[in-house]
């Protein structure tokens, strides 16, 4: 019995990191505009904004590269 093609792990990783990146980036921007009362060490560096951008970028790259709904290479070559 032939098994269905599996979604690659990299796609799951990309999806989760992308969502995390957007959430963290959004929170970072909100805190940049309206700084919270309690400030953390080095909060002026806005690490959440930069880290959010990094996560979003990694997520997008992985999602695009390992998008599971593309045509399988075998199907392409058969055609």
């Amino acid at each position: 019995m032939e098994k269905k093609r599996q979604i690659e792990i990299w796609f799951f990783i990309g999806g989760l990191l992308g969502i995390y990146g957007i959430l963290i980036l959004g929170t970072g921007i909100a805190h940049w505009i309206h700084p919270p009362v309690k400030q953390l060490a080095l909060s002026h560096l806005h690490s959440d904004v930069w880290w959010g951008i990094l996560l979003t970028a990694i997520g997008i790259v992985y999602c695009i590269k390992y998008w599971p709904f593309k045509e399988a290479p075998q199907a392409k070559s058969k055609r």
């Binding site: 995390y20 909060s43 560096l45």
Partner: protein, 607 residues
Amino acid sequence: MKSLRHVWALILVLFAGIVPLGAEATVPAAAGGAASRLLTMSPIDLVIIVLYFLVVLGIGFYLKKYTSTGEDFFMAGRKMTAWIAGLSFISANLSSLETMGWSAMAYQYGMLGAHAYLIGAIPAILFLAVVMMPFYYICKTHSVPGYLKLRFGEASRSLAGISFSIMTVLVCGVNMFAMAKVMQMMLGWNFDLCIWVSSITVAVYVALGGLLSAVFNEVLQFFLIWLGTLLIPILGLIEAGGWSKMMASINAQHPGQNFTSLWANLGSAASNPMGMHWTGMVFGLGLAVSFGYWCTDFLQVQRVMAAKSLRSAQNGTIIGSVFKMLVPLIVTIPGLLGLAVLTQKAGITLVPESVAQTTGGHSYNEVLPLMMSRYLGPGLLGLGITAMIAGFMSGMAGNVSAFATVWTYDVYKPLLNKTASDAHYVSMGRWSSIIGVIIAILTAYTAKFFSNILVYLQVLVMFFIIPLFGVVILGMLWKRASPAGGFWGFLSGILSSIGMFVYVHLFPGRFDPAQLNPEHVKHIALSPLARDMAVNMYSALWSLLICMSVTVLVSLFTKPKPDAELKDLVYGLTRLPEEGHCPWYQKPVLWAGVVMVVLIAVNVLFW
């Protein structure tokens, strides 16, 4: 879909019980009364954590349909690429027990803590890749105890299978205990519910997807652990003013003690905070503990045995070694930053767990959470906590999946039910995953007897894994090693490990596992000044030597297996399979050499 909705509802109900409601809630006393929680989560942090649980469970449900045979469930179909096998291999080891424990070690012992990722790991991982992996891979065994069966017979396999099963559930229990304790300490979460939520999640996704699900989640966890914790050393070093200023600050706070060298302070037990001579580091950690753990702990080896080819298994192992060498960035440096930043800028000095419990202060084990609380705001904190949860759960899942395999193939099948169908063994694997988690929950509380959570882990590893390495390596490299030699060598190694553990904690009229008796310690670790780590390293070395000596002696007086039965199991009687043309840049030996050169350079640089 219906089952997914149930899971979602279950998660919400459980989190409602775990998490104190309201981001601005007042700080409650943690259970036990002494300490307050370190962090207050915001709703965005909670969303990040819940998303993680959903994805992990979703992967488990998704992969169930791909795990219908024993080969799928226990060996992930043997179709993993080198990268997936390698990241899973290293992630299974990168539990939060490990990251928190070794950060605590770095705070206590300085740079010496980094040895666990250098001489304490890399040579052994490369040895596994180049020398041992061909034997494991070619004989197509399902487990390390399975190799013992082929090489030495049923008695050795049963001893290894039973002892490994016990060890994995105990270590899994330690992970649960540590996770619940950390979450309680950091966030005021309910201790018992933490244990149940994490363990149910692990049980569900391992029971559904077996090793395939565990491997998928471990690769995911690898990314989360790195991306959730890497910001701490980056921001910490910025705050400390860079590497050299951090080291200068540490030296200024600890005059006369060398916290900043890898080797320069190992000339005698009195010259370093660990109380260890260099021989303990090289032969105890670098040989006995490291080779035992990396080459024969099935939890680790199982990941790379699931690779699609021998070359992928070898290269995956080497990829793992590269990331292992990088782990000090997220483990050792936060510990060192704790020494430099927490004490100097925040006025916090960490103390041993036993002192923290009586005085209400912060213990060494809290260094990583304290650094998180210093730098990570809403969102990032959720990611950091998720990284920690992911780390704990990868440790648990690694143990549970290895337990399910060893229990099913090395205990249940040979001893209880030899003739069942493949589907029956898969079913047994699923059920044993769940039962393993339940047993682990019951053992979780034993961790409280020990001053440092990592010491407990090392004690367990020392009891079973190090003698196992002694037997396996002799079996692979010496065809004269006999079945009787293997069995008695293994048993004597286990008994001597337990004997030494009891001896160093034995006082006149009492046994105290939380304290060392210097009068006894000096006989094991060559100095009465030796502390837990040093004692464990030397104990490991002696148990390895005892195990190997007994194996050799008994083998010389007993009948070995004939050569025909040792084909593909022993050096000299094993022919490597032809894997076709391999370009030079894919050759495992080349990359193993490169990693070894980098290892030497790092040791010289931080001498």
